[in-house]
């Protein structure tokens, strides 16, 4: 009987412990994120995916907003990007509102998908913010129909980071890298390889970063604004893949298989150039022993009508949920800080190295600072200048599906399959996927 009693005791203790956890939690939950009335503090909850970047940006915005609204409080919940998307989808698909935050961070290629799949879920910002103050291509990504959803945040304006010591050794000066085409880039790469033994760049057939940069630099994308595949009868796409194959064939690119290998290749000094978004700066600066050796030039352009020496890779925006209890407060908070404060963007750059698309901030001292790591070049001034040249495109709903279809065929293209036939295959595959 003693044993029975002890088991019974254990079970009841476990149950009461569980119940205790349960009730205290649900209490704190209602008191925390959803209740607005009770306390004098007005609390807004936001989901973001990098505590040292976009989470930190929100904290800067909070400080600025608190100057005029001392009772304002912000809670940032950090989680991985994929986790955030999974959670958001689970909540929206289940139609369960509790637990959802007031503000979420959205990766730009997902904007259309979310707004279309979950109508009336996200707040309309069309007349809450002066969108003429932002780089037009960034606003284009947020526009669906005649409405603009969300607040433009960070951008991924691209540049060609290069090792000035390697290129000098190969006989090139900074001037030789301005305003070039990709074919010239490949020629330079061959000389660099011959004279220094270093690769010009990396290539990863499983990563669509380079093709994305090339496409946008000539104002095109994997899909049309009507969400149809944009592979056949698209001269920009054909030229992009020709250049991609040429880089691969020329032997100037070091093959890498993943992100860490890619970052490792330039941290270890194996490559002479890195074509990437401005957010790559901290990774490049991680290799402290290479200080003073790096510079940034505009990216090469496609030798085609509409091709420019500027593009974009990645970027995100802030959305407010319509069902949020603090909707108006969240909108006002974002509009007054990330949506219209030069001070915010200056601090964001100085403290976290983040670049936004807010044009008035571009002329500030923060953006004019010279970087010793980059040999005294005012890199952010250059990046922001290029950001105003990036062609605007619609990212559409099925960017990921289109990229996957392309990735599927890329090995064949690299092996020399007929390009027209391959493009038709990709188009077919994509259409099968999204039907």
């Amino acid at each position: 009987m003693k044993k029975f009693l002890s088991v019974l005791l254990l079970v009841t203790m476990t149950a009461s412990l569980l119940a205790a956890c349960g009730s205290s939690n649900s209490d704190s939950n209602t008191a925390g994120s959803t209740d607005q009335g009770g306390s004098s503090k007005k609390k807004v909850v936001a989901w973001a995916w990098d505590p040292s970047f976009n989470g930190a940006a929100l904290k800067i915005a909070e400080e600025l907003y608190q100057k005029e609204h001392p009772d304002f409080e912000l809670e940032v919940v950090d989680m991985a990007k994929a986790d955030l998307e999974q959670k958001l989808n689970a909540n929206l698909a289940a139609g369960v509102k509790d637990g959802l935050p007031d503000i979420i961070l959205v990766n730009d290629p997902n904007i259309q998908k979310y707004v279309t799949a979950y109508p009336n879920t996200f707040a309309d910002f069309t007349d809450k913010i002066d969108f003429t103050q932002f780089s037009p291509y960034k606003v284009d990504a947020l526009r669906i129909g005649d409405k603009i959803y969300g607040v433009p945040f960070d951008i991924g304006v691209t540049g060609m980071f290069y090792r000035s010591d390697y290129l000098e050794q190969a006989g090139y000066t900074a001037k030789d890298l301005e305003n070039i085409t990709w074919d010239q880039y490949i020629e330079i790469g061959k000389v660099v390889k011959e004279k220094t033994g270093k690769y010009m760049t990396t290539i990863n057939p499983n990563d669509e970063a380079l093709t994305s940069i090339l496409l946008q630099s000539a104002g095109s994308w994997y899909i049309t604004p009507e969400n149809k595949g944009n592979f056949v009868n698209n001269p920009v796409m054909a030229e992009t893949l020709r250049v991609y194959k040429a880089i691969s064939d020329s032997g100037i690119a070091k093959p890498v298989t993943g992100w860490s290998e890619f970052v490792g290749s330039f941290n270890a000094g194996d490559v002479a150039t890195v074509v990437s978004g401005v957010w790559q700066v901290p990774s490049i600066m991680d290799a402290k022993d290479q200080s003073g050796k790096w510079r940034v030039a505009p990216i090469p352009r496609l030798n085609i009508k509409g091709g420019v020496n500027a593009s974009n890779e990645g970027g995100s925006s802030w959305f407010v949920l319509n069902g949020s209890k603090n909707k108006d407060l969240a909108i006002d908070f974002l509009a007054k800080t990330i949506g219209g404060s030069s001070e915010f963007y200056e601090r964001f750059l100085k403290e976290k190295g983040g670049v936004g698309s807010y044009i008035p901030a571009f002329s500030s001292d923060a953006y004019g600072q010279q970087s010793e790591f980059f040999g005294g070049q005012a890199i952010y001034r250059d990046f922001t200048k290029w950001s105003t040249e990036v062609p605007g495109i619609s990212l559409g709903m099925y960017t990921q599906e289109a990229k996957d279809a392309l990735k599927n065929e890329l090995p064949n293209i690299l092996q020399g399959a007929d390009l027209t036939q391959s493009l038709a295959n990709i188009q077919k595959l994509f259409e099968q996927q999204v039907q």
Binding site: K3, F4, V7, L10, V11, T14, L17, L18, A19, C21, G22, N25, S26, S28, N29, G32, S33, W49, D50, P51, S52, F53, E75, V77, D78, M79, A80, K81, A82, D83, Q86, K87, A90, N91, A93, A94, G95, V96, D98, G99, S260, V263, G264, N267, A268, W279, P282, S283, D286, A287
Partner: protein, 268 residues
């Protein structure tokens, strides 16, 4: 000839153990190096250990996450062992035709991928007001078809004579279970404890959906959020992974002997 075979076998085993130990060594070395050293592929111990640990503790509330994980894993494991062993015992000892049909149905639930039940489950827990609690993480897997099956299989080799002897001595059915069955089946419980503990400790998708505020997060969720930064610090991630791995390793070594026995069948 025999010598040659042993040599080949040993060679194979050495290669296999190097391959399976490599990730652990890499993890321990990574812990002591900076992020860019790891990316460059440095394969030796460095001097960054304390700095990585300090940075990790600054960046995350690791203590709270560890506590949350521990609560869920410990209560979940105790609950699962108790309920699943009772079910397995019941299905096997009080055997009947209708019960084995019921058991067949139960096995069917093993075929169901979790993703298919996730959304309904989420709605259900939201309706009960249990979201964002450890209970929400523990309950859905507190009895699994696999664990019941595991206990049922092991009960098949349990000598019924022991139960009969107990009945003759006037033990009630409940005490037969706690006094005779449970002590005899210790190795099975140990094996089940390791499997269940690891499942709870490492579970990711459901806690991700069910837990909503920062202070309720479990360790795997914290590690995952570290890894997705634009400029991830691999040194810090390695420290976090080592901390996350330790309890599972410890439990395994503590129960290793019983685990092996349990997998072979408890009673021989």
């Amino acid at each position: 000839m025999k010598k040659l075979t042993t040599m080949v076998v040993h060679l194979f085993l050495i290669v296999a153990s190097v391959i399976s130990l490599f990730p652990f060594v890499w993890m321990l070395m990574g812990m002591t190096n900076s992020s860019s050293e790891i990316l460059k592929g440095k394969f030796s111990f460095g001097s960054m250990l304390m700095e990585n640990i300090h940075k990790l503790l600054d960046m995350t509330s690791l203590g709270a996450a560890f506590w949350n994980s521990a609560i869920i894993a410990i209560i979940g494991t105790v609950g699962t062992l108790l309920l699943s062993s009772m079910a397995g015992y019941g299905f096997e000892i009080y055997h009947s035709k209708s019960k084995s049909r019921l058991f067949g149905l139960l096995m069917l639930s093993m075929m169901m991928p979790f993703a298919a039940v996730m959304i309904p489950l989420f709605r259900m827990f939201s309706g009960m007001g249990l979201l964002n609690t450890p209970t929400a993480v523990i309950l859905p897997t507190i009895t699994t078809a696999f664990m019941i099956f595991f206990f049922l299989q092991n009960t098949k080799s349990f000598p019924r004579e022991l139960l009969q002897a107990g009945r003759v001595d006037g033990l009630s059915e409940w005490r037969l279970f706690t006094r005779i069955y449970m002590p005899t089946m210790k190795p099975t419980y140990a094996a089940a404890a390791i499997i269940t503990f690891m499942n709870y400790w490492n579970s990711f998708l459901w806690p991700l959906i069910a837990l909503q505020t920062q202070d309720k997060k479990t360790l795997p969720l914290v590690v995952s959020s570290l890894a997705s930064s634009y400029n991830p610090d691999y040194g810090i991630i390695m420290v976090a992974i080592v901390i996350t791995t330790l309890p599972s390793v410890l439990i395994f070594f503590l129960l290793q002997k019983q685990f092996v026995q349990g997998m072979l069948g408890s009673v021989k």
